[in-house]
């Protein structure tokens, strides 16, 4: 090869290699952009899916609460009324019966009406506690805790948050969660103490709960229905729940719910 030819080849080769390099850079950048776009699209899709699931969860809980309310009202207004009339009639009947054997049966009937009325009232209150509706979350939680005292569990409540200003959804969710937690303690924990603290911290309602019982089983199994309900209720309001065992023993739950605009039942 002649020197002139060699120089000509070099003069062609270098720009050509440079052009190929520029094209390769373009391909790499194009790929990178396309990849970022794909990731963004996928994240947006996932976000939409999550939002949809959250909406479904919220409406499921709202429907459940609405049904509870309706069922509690029906129990209270209709079944309780019928039972009360039955009880009244049986009392009237007892006054007119002369035969002691029949009188005893009528008395049993009276007790039956009385017990049914009491059970109906309890179910109705459990479905939608009247103190939560009329007196607010703080009083409802204190009543819940008082029931534990009867089971030889000492409750310690520290309610720093202004519960009366809380939106109804948050009050109801917190009440249901506390009720679930206390029920779990009562049923599984063999605890003698519970501690419940409710406060506002960093633009969130924060509920801290712990007991001095046996804690969750180790190794931790999949969360039970109660803990799942807890998570679902918190998620529906855009909150989070952390549960586990405390180093000093016992179970703990930490619930964080965002501050929402006030609403009424």
């Amino acid at each position: 090869m002649e020197t002139a030819e060699a120089t000509q080849l070099t003069q062609t080769l270098i720009p050509f290699a440079f052009v190929v390099f520029v094209i390769a850079v373009g391909v790499a950048l194009l790929f990178q952009k396309f990849r970022e776009k794909l990731i963004r699209q996928r994240l947006e899709k996932e976000e939409l899916k999550n939002q949809h699931q959250l909406d479904l969860l919220r409406s499921a809980i709202a429907v459940q609460e609405e049904e509870r309310k309706r069922f509690a009202r029906d129990l209270h207004d209709e079944l309780s009324a019928v039972l009360a009339v039955g009880k009244m009639n049986s009392e009237q009947l007892a006054l007119r019966v002369a035969d002691p054997a029949v009188a005893t049966e009528v008395q049993e009937l009276q007790h039956l009406f009385q017990n049914s009325l009491q059970a109906t009232r309890q179910i109705s209150h459990a479905l939608m506690p009247p103190e939560l509706v009329s007196l607010g979350l703080e009083q409802a939680l204190r009543n819940l805790a008082r029931r534990l005292t009867a089971q030889h569990i000492t409750p310690a409540l520290q309610l720093d948050a202004a519960t009366e200003k809380m939106p109804w959804e948050t009050q109801l969710a917190l009440y249901r969660m506390c009720s679930e937690l206390m029920h779990n303690t009562l049923k599984h924990a063999e605890a003698t103490e519970i501690h419940l603290q409710l406060q506002i911290a960093e633009a969130h309602y924060r509920l801290e709960y712990h007991d001095n019982g046996v804690g969750l089983p180790a190794p931790l199994e999949a969360p039970g229905l109660g803990l799942k309900n807890l998570e679902a209720r918190a998620s529906a309001l855009g909150g989070v729940v952390h549960t586990g065992n405390r180093p000093e023993g016992g179970f703990f739950a930490s619930v964080q719910l965002p501050l929402l605009p006030t609403s009424t039942p």
Binding site: M1, L9, T10, L13, V25, V27
Partner: protein, 221 residues
Amino acid sequence: MPKLATYLTFLPLLLTMGWFALRWSCWRGPWRAFRWWLVFETVSQLLATGLALAKVNNLPLLYAYTPVGMVLLAWFYQAQFRDFLPPRVLGIGMVLFLAYCGYDIWQKDTLFQFNSEVSTLQSILVVMLSLAAYLLSLEKAAQQATKPTETGLNWINSGLFLYHASNLILFYFGELLMNDAFPDADARATWLLHFVFSAVMYLCFFIGTWKQLKPPNLPKP
């Protein structure tokens, strides 16, 4: 000037190697294969530079550098294509490549010639593999539920793609460029361009490793 370019080229390579050495046993999957390629690359480059500085012809090194480097890169890509490509496909490809390397040295080139054909073939293979890795990465980006932590690997892949695509033409004419008819200035200019491409590749490795060393990608001991 070419000496300075050589040293500057090595800077990102040595830094990347240093990062890999610091967390030597922590790398998994494709990074483990890439780790060995990086060691081989660093040793080869240092040896070649040492020989060049001592005015000793370092072209015989190419006859080990090209096949061993290609096999290590094939391992690196195989680790990335694990769930998409049966290992025997790249295995057979590498056996054929090594056979061609043997044929080249036995029948065509001598140890003191530039192995143009083998280097060109290697570049074509790496460009194909890197494009396949790009496509695979796009598919993963569209499907995976969590954000992929593969940005580091993409930088490594981009470095290899840029280097081999840009040098393809230089490798093809490499033997001619070594010809005595070429004026020194022209040959030097051409190899300076090669150093620029190498520097870009090593820089991509440096960025890729740096990204991989950031949480949550940081490999744990």
